[in-house]
Homo-oligomer: 272 residues x 2
Amino acid sequence: MQLLKGSVAKARIESQVTDRLSAIRAKGESVRIALFRVGERGDDCGYERSILRACERFGIETEHTDFPEDVAEDTLYSALAAAAQRNDVDGILLFRPLPTPLRTERIRTAVPPEKDIDGALLEESCFTPCTPEACMHLLEAYGISPNGKRCVVIGRSPVVGKPLANLLRAAGGLVTVCHTQTVDVPKETREAELLFVACGKPRMVDRTYLSPRQIIIDVGFHPTENGFCGDVKAEDAEAIADAYTPVPGGVGSVTLSVLLLHAVQAHERKHV
Amino acid sequence: MQLLKGSVAKARIESQVTDRLSAIRAKGESVRIALFRVGERGDDCGYERSILRACERFGIETEHTDFPEDVAEDTLYSALAAAAQRNDVDGILLFRPLPTPLRTERIRTAVPPEKDIDGALLEESCFTPCTPEACMHLLEAYGISPNGKRCVVIGRSPVVGKPLANLLRAAGGLVTVCHTQTVDVPKETREAELLFVACGKPRMVDRTYLSPRQIIIDVGFHPTENGFCGDVKAEDAEAIADAYTPVPGGVGSVTLSVLLLHAVQAHERKHV
């Protein structure tokens, strides 16, 4: 049994930090982060102290603004926005979770992603790419819930597989994503209750990938000599599966509707 | 065999779009999106035409700016930034992928997430939350690669489980995420080669979750009467696993170093 000690990784990272800070200082520049804390949660205060100490040790400049737990949303927002606009502030860290009356979704918009060094503000409230959201709408339209179900996704692209996995998981699915580095894809996919195919290879998924009772969502869309085909061999899916999305007339036909919905949502959120 | 038809979902979404647009119009407002295309890829041009037609049908205002394939990065950036700043533009869609000389990472910063209605610009180049990145640094420090390995994560939180799944998958892992809606968590975790535990429950993961040869990364960190413990029963991990991260002295000790690294990276990227 080997102990994997944090100190080994820590030393490697900190040596990188030291080297890169030297290079930055050699150019007469410095690095500065701004911390924002709301309330007095023990975890936050402790982490804040550790950060301030570590920054001092490395010569990273810091500033911290602490608000009472009942701070007005606009006050917090303005303070974050002001720090975000300052060119001398490289990174911003807002301790989370925020007290409930504060709307994280609104507040996060004060910090641009390139200054969100804790990576904690984004992800959740952005728009999801339209195609994976179209898959979810399709399931919903047919009353199929991924909750508690074994979901397998083939493909990990940033526009389909990855955000689809996130949506399915948020909806309660037990999600596994297969891709080019997966040793035995058919073995994985045969275990699926819901199978999502976004490998981008025409008719790649044949009966060897499938097992009875499955619901198959085919995200592929490829022109052929006579019309279009998906990533799944349609005749195999039809022979084996419980339900299957046709190509054309399946996921692809929903994507543009999702884009329209996003346009409307973008407008509505602006006026919240 | 049931065919899951896109038209069913499409009708549901479009009826929502219609209703919500009526409400918006009743307030004397309108929805506008701006499309940006670089080059003349057939897919992009086709999708653009479909979007323009659909928007016209629903009364969503559109504008589109088409650039030649060799457009200067600054020209594209400025055009996007100008649209982003206009209050009458609710959503922006930039067709991707961009021609290779253009740096998507820089260009995406011109569009704020709340106007990125295709959700395609973000995700990849934001900072990842520090804890999951600390897990990756720990593996790397010990020469352990997730590539092709069966990785199981317990927990799907936005600050650990979810981004950790994304990082592991990007590193080639075959990733499954278990959570509160998972029917039989121990069954899943026993299949893991690399097991990441971020369930937030002190010592929840005992020998029934484990099998020999595993590498176990314990993300938990809980105060106890005598020191700290993780989400894994340490004595069980030590008896069964090939490698295990201690608590304290494991993942938690790396997190703050990652934050420092992010601060440095934020500074460096600003000056690219």
